[in-house]
Point group: C2
Chain length 485, copies 2
Amino acid sequence: VDEQLAPGRPGPPRSGRTRELDLLLAVDRSAATPLRAQLEDAIRSAVREGRLVAGTALPSTRALAAELGVSRGVVVEAFGQLAADGFLQIHRGGATRVAHVPPPVHGPPSGPTAPATAPPAAPSAFDLLPMSGDLVGFPRRAWGRAIRGVVDATPAPGLSYGDPRGPERARTVLAAYLGRSRGVLATPDTTALTAGVTEGIGTLARALAATGARRIAVEDPGFAPHRRTLQDAGLLPVPVAVDAGGLRVELLDGAGVDAVLVTPAHQAPTGRPLSPERRTALVRWASEHGAVVLEDDYDGEFRYDRQAVGALQALAPDHVAYCGSVSKTLAPALRIGWVVAPAPLLDAATRLRLIATGGTAALEPLALAAMIDDGDYDRHLRGRRRVYAARRRVVEQAVLDLLPDGEPIGIPAGLSVPVLLPPALDPVGLAAAAHRRGVLVAVVPVVLDGREHTLVQIGFGRQAESGLRRAVGLLADAVAEVAAA
Amino acid sequence: VDEQLAPGRPGPPRSGRTRELDLLLAVDRSAATPLRAQLEDAIRSAVREGRLVAGTALPSTRALAAELGVSRGVVVEAFGQLAADGFLQIHRGGATRVAHVPPPVHGPPSGPTAPATAPPAAPSAFDLLPMSGDLVGFPRRAWGRAIRGVVDATPAPGLSYGDPRGPERARTVLAAYLGRSRGVLATPDTTALTAGVTEGIGTLARALAATGARRIAVEDPGFAPHRRTLQDAGLLPVPVAVDAGGLRVELLDGAGVDAVLVTPAHQAPTGRPLSPERRTALVRWASEHGAVVLEDDYDGEFRYDRQAVGALQALAPDHVAYCGSVSKTLAPALRIGWVVAPAPLLDAATRLRLIATGGTAALEPLALAAMIDDGDYDRHLRGRRRVYAARRRVVEQAVLDLLPDGEPIGIPAGLSVPVLLPPALDPVGLAAAAHRRGVLVAVVPVVLDGREHTLVQIGFGRQAESGLRRAVGLLADAVAEVAAA
């Protein structure tokens, strides 16, 4: 039953402005898609296509729920998600309004994110390094079946050099996956396989440098290896401060940059998403300056409280290039990643990549596509989320119980709990003291909101749940030792 | 029975100089290795290690055969191979002497080579494009078994980022394989996996550029895509002429270059190996100038007349970086290649590659190692050689019968027969005329020995044997049409 809301249809009182909505929104109760998701999609499409313009006030959740014949909770959830994604602005005590979103011309997609560091060689009793998934949980059976199937079934021409963006089948499946799972606006033509997020960022940066870009804003604190990747690609990384809302977008004007690299889903290392206001402001800035935003969808798949915050890219697919990988969802050793980018940028990056590497591997991306098609990939992610959410709760509780000086920050997401410690602690000394107790952990000095802190990232991706509390206890001992020194 | 030739042992008369050989050479008739190969190895080692110095005259083949108790043919073959590899110089009517070979400090390895071009989209009745292997012959069963085994058996830590040169097991197996099959001096530490020859060349070039190199000699005619790869990596490609002996090494001094890229096994596109004299001269030049030679072991695996000519790298592992891949032996879609290079250069290249790509895929190189270990890879290569040798004979005979104006050049090797045509023929017109007859073929204008030619590369990698004669006939029709125009 398609409940198109025709203008003349009887309903609760509404303003002239919201009457427009009648023509745009529809929910289909017979469809498999949840009503909340349908409503979100409908509003998102209307905003993207310019049918709902910035500043438009939406009806109250109560009124819209009555109009659509759905429970009010459905509308509240949909509005909340759209606000988190930057499509709507919720004003306490006032109307919810459409945010400023530049209209897209065509679309890119999004996915997970891989850091580019080698693990230390020395084995330790407890491994709390962040940014690693649990490789013991690698779905060997599903992956083995998928890759064997691809080796058996790929026709001979598919074993040649092929499309430098990767096999069309893999791009098609991936574009659809990124659309449904991360809200990315992707088509097979704007999607390219890479050997991981680092290669995606590196190649995009080289393409930007080739067209005259010189300076790129990076988050401070941020993921250091990517700065080096940008530098080697010919761009100068310009650190821009991060606060509780993520990258301080208002500082971009003073930074004199041509591009920005951000981690909107889960800022590395502070563990917080880019706020809805900042998202809107960032894409507006990019649109006004003809700049490009590189979105590293770091931890995008691992959100434990509610539906994941969608990709920034969906707000402005002409100005955002989205990068993800399977390095944390499956395994770094696979070297599978992807980029969704505006066509001219993607084409330039693909040309450079072809010249530099001779082409793109075909079989493993096709195996990933087969896993996605079979539902094995989603099933694997759901299982991983359960495991990681449980581990995260243990870490958080252990920090509260055993490390009272520490302040856990960041949302329930990702593969580590960032904890702020008193600024006087020496990061190097603390990491060494932890190591002496058999605990591998990453400690970095950070400046947040203008103040110095010591930030310890308690990773739980590689450490089984049973050892986590003990490991946090040993870390607390190390903190006490260094604080007393 | 180890037949060590002790100084006092009775034997045929010999000069004082050749008496040295008594201490160095030994053959073991009970070993599985053929006597000829043992003799080659023994002389090669003696030359490498400086025990046999440049200019030393060897005994006559007759004398040495008697001394070692082997047939004279064994010694003749071994000398011939060592001369082809640049270790010995055979002077007609005079003694065979040890060539000038710079002593190595440590070693790199070698393998096959992959061009970096996408095949044309339009299907044709006959595909005579060069530089492609027969993908219908891809060993699906062996590869599927190998990759599945690796997915099942690789321990969890092996699924992480790991060594940026690739998994140690894969480097160990590969180094041994390259040593025995291509004569490369490789250790696991001087061997790194890449995504193919193009990436190997590109990364090495970037490392050279980072240390101040600016200009690199490339073969003219040569493989154009690699020039672009070098250029993007920061080096200026300087074309240096090729003649029947390969790269004209004597022109390097005037070219003002810091490095050289060569295809010594089978020059692309003229199909001839770098001559023994040129090999010696090239490594001497590199050694004297502190320059680096990038060896693209293009077609190294596919030689149909006799044992393959060994890698140039073995002559001077401190000055030669060796690149190969499985793109023609297995399939380009795998994106597996390797580099064997002097340790400082390899380390610099690996660092740059890690920064640019985030790491190296582990599973597919491990599958290749498993195939090599099982003997499946060698078995596959032997089968491919039989198939390609037969196809090559058909093409050569068809050219002699049907294309009398054409002059086949090049040795019985590789995946195409290069044929020189009268210079007046328009290359673009000929390729188009062939295409109209359903024949895809590569035609290039070349200057060889100071004269202009039209060179058509009749590839047989992708075209089944049954269609080859017909395809050459159609090509001959195209030649006649263009010649008459």
